[in-house]
C-alpha cells in the first residue's frame, strides 16, 4: 500500500482552477520530485496535502488514514475529524521555501519546541534528539545561535532538522532552494541525499532540474493543473516522448 495516495484532487481559487485532476501515489522510501513551470499548481498541491489549503474535490490518504474524500451525492469535500487530521499532520513534515524559522527562538528551541510541547517528550530526550539532528545537518555548535545569525543554507538545514524532530513518515519540501544563493543549494542537496540513503520518504517541489535528476527516483511533471507525465528521472529527462515535457526541459538544456 502506498504511504500517500492522492486521487483526483481539484482546487480552485475563486474562478481560477489551479488543480484540475491530480492523482499519484508515493511509496514508502520513495523520493519524488515534482517539477513544472511557475503557476502549474505544484505548491498548491503540496499545500493541499499538508492541510494548509482545503481541497475542492478528490481524496487523499496518508499512511492508511483518509484525510478527506468527496461526497459524490452532496458534491462536496468531507474532511476527517479534527483528531485524525492532527494525527495525519504529525506524520507529515514540511520544509518551506522561506524556512519560516521562529526568529525569537534559538536553533535548539526551534527544534525542540514541538517535540516538548506537542509530543510531550521529556526535555533532555528532545535535546538529545536535536543534537543528533544538528550533527547530521552539519550544524554542530550552532544550537545557541538565532536564525538571523545563520546563512540561508544553514537556516534551511535548521528547518529540516525541526521537521525531522517530530519523526515524520513523509517529508515535503516546497522549493527548498529557491530562496538560496546558487552556491548554497549544494548543501541542501547533500542533506536530502543523505536522508534518501536512510530511506526517508520525501516529496520535493523544485525548480532545480539537476536537483530533481540527482536525488529523485520518481519525477512528476505538472503543467496547468494536470500531471502531464511521470516516471523515473531517466525516462523523463532522458527520452521523453511528450511534446510539452520536451518543450519545458529544452529551456534547461542550455
Amino acid at each position: 500500500m502506498a504511504i500517500l495516495e492522492v486521487r483526483n484532487i481539484v482546487k480552485n481559487f475563486d474562478k481560477l482552477k489551479v488543480l484540475k485532476d491530480i492523482s499519484f501515489d508515493v511509496e514508502q522510501g520513495q523520493v519524488v520530485a515534482i517539477i513544472g513551470p511557475s503557476g502549474s499548481g505544484k505548491s498548491t498541491l503540496l499545500r493541499c496535502i499538508n492541510q494548509l489549503e482545503r481541497a475542492d474535490g478528490g481524496e487523499i490518504t496518508v499512511d492508511g488514514t483518509r484525510m478527506f474524500y468527496t461526497d459524490k451525492e452532496k458534491g462536496r469535500v468531507v474532511y476527517a475529524s479534527k483528531k485524525e487530521l492532527r494525527e495525519i499532520r504529525l506524520k507529515i513534515g514540511l520544509v518551506f521555501q522561506n524556512f519560516n524559522l521562529f526568529p525569537h527562538q534559538s536553533v535548539m528551541k526551534n527544534i525542540t519546541g514541538a517535540p516538548i510541547h506537542v509530543l510531550k517528550m521529556p526535555k533532555d530526550e528532545a535535546r538529545k534528539k536535536a543534537d543528533e539532528l544538528l550533527e547530521k545537518m552539519g550544524l554542530v555548535g550552532k544550537e545557541n545561535s538565532y536564525p538571523c545569525e545563520l546563512s540561508g543554507g544553514q537556516q534551511q538545514r535548521v528547518s529540516i532538522a525541526r521537521a525531522l524532530a517530530l519523526n515524520p513518515k513523509i517529508l515535503f519540501f516546497d522549493e527548498p532552494t529557491s530562496a538560496l544563493d546558487p552556491e548554497l543549494t549544494g548543501e541542501i542537496l547533500k542533506v536530502i541525499k543523505e536522508l534518501a540513503k536512510e530511506k526517508m520518504t520525501m516529496v520535493i517541489v523544485t525548480h532545480e532540474m539537476a536537483f530533481a535528476r540527482d536525488v529523485a527516483n520518481h519525477v512528476i511533471f505538472m503543467d496547468d493543473g494536470y500531471i502531464v507525465e511521470e516516471g523515473s528521472p531517466e525516462e523523463l529527462f532522458g527520452n521523453t516522448q511528450n511534446e510539452r515535457t520536451k518543450q519545458f526541459l529544452a529551456r534547461f538544456k542550455n
Partner: protein
C-alpha cells in the same frame, strides 16, 4: 520669584507628585491587559462582537479624553440625582445611591475608568497592528508542527508581537504621562493643578516651568527605560 519660593513650590509639587504617578501607574498596568483583550474581541469570529469593539475604539479615539473624564465623573452623580427624584429601588439603584461621589476614592476611580478605557483603545490598535505584522508563514510553520491555536499564539506570535510594539508603546506611555494633567479638569490634586494654584499664589509663571521640568524628567526616565527594553529584544531581528 526668589530662590526660596522656587524651593517651596518644588516641595509642594513633589508632595503631590504621587497623585500623578498613581494615576499613571494604574492606567498603565490596567490598560495594557485590557487592550490585549480588546484586540482579541476585535478579532472575534462572531461578527457583532467585533463590530461593537470597533465602535468602542472609534468613540474612544474619536472624542477628547478630557470630555470622557467629565462624562465618567459626572455620570454617577447625575444618575444618583435622577434616581433619588424617581425614588427608584432595586440592586443597581441602591448601589449607585450608596456611592459617595464627594469622596477622593470616587474621583480617583472615575479617573482610572476614563483613562483605562481610553488608553486600552489605543493599545488595542497597537497590538492589532503588531499581530497583523507577523508573517503568515509563522502560523503555517507552527501548525505544521502540530501546535494548537493557543500554543501558536503564546509561544510563537505573542513574543514576536511584543518586540514589534515596543516603539509604539513607548510613544503611548510618554503621552500618558502628559495626559495625567487632564485630571485637573475635575480638580484632582495632581501636579499641573497644584502648579496653577502656585502660579496664582505667587502671581508668577515660574511654577508652570517647574512643573514642566517635572514632566520632562519623568519622560526622560521613560525614554531611557524603553531604550533599555528595546536593546534587550535586540538579540534577534
Amino acid at each position: 520669584m526668589d530662590w526660596e519660593s522656587i524651593k517651596k513650590v518644588t516641595g509642594i509639587l513633589l508632595e503631590y507628585l504621587p497623585n500623578t504617578l498613581k494615576l499613571f501607574a494604574v492606567t498603565l498596568l490596567l490598560s495594557i491587559p485590557v487592550g490585549m483583550v480588546v484586540t482579541l474581541l476585535k478579532k472575534c469570529r462572531f461578527k457583532p462582537v467585533a463590530w461593537l469593539t470597533n465602535l468602542y475604539i472609534l468613540i474612544m479615539r474619536g472624542t477628547p479624553l478630557m470630555l470622557q473624564i467629565i462624562v465618567v465623573y459626572y455620570a454617577v452623580p447625575m444618575m444618583k440625582a435622577s434616581m433619588e427624584r424617581d425614588g427608584s429601588q432595586g440592586f443597581f439603584s441602591n448601589f449607585i445611591k450608596n456611592i459617595d461621589t464627594r469622596s477622593d476614592s470616587y474621583m480617583f476611580t472615575a479617573l482610572c475608568i476614563a483613562f483605562v478605557l481610553n488608553y486600552a483603545a489605543y493599545f488595542a490598535e497597537i497590538f492589532r497592528g503588531g499581530v497583523d505584522s507577523i508573517p503568515k508563514g509563522q502560523y503555517e510553520a507552527a501548525s505544521m508542527l502540530g501546535m494548537t491555536r493557543m500554543q501558536t499564539f503564546f509561544r510563537i506570535i505573542l513574543p514576536q508581537v511584543t518586540k514589534r510594539v515596543i516603539p509604539a508603546t513607548s510613544n503611548e506611555v510618554i503621552t500618558l504621562i502628559k495626559d495625567t494633567s487632564l485630571a485637573n479638569i475635575i480638580a484632582y490634586a495632581e501636579i499641573t493643578m497644584k502648579a496653577k494654584q502656585q502660579m496664582n499664589t505667587y502671581s508668577s509663571i515660574v511654577p508652570l516651568f517647574i512643573v514642566g521640568i517635572f514632566y520632562f524628567v519623568m519622560n526622560a526616565v521613560v525614554t531611557v527605560a524603553f531604550a533599555v527594553i528595546e536593546k534587550k529584544f535586540n538579540y534577534y531581528r
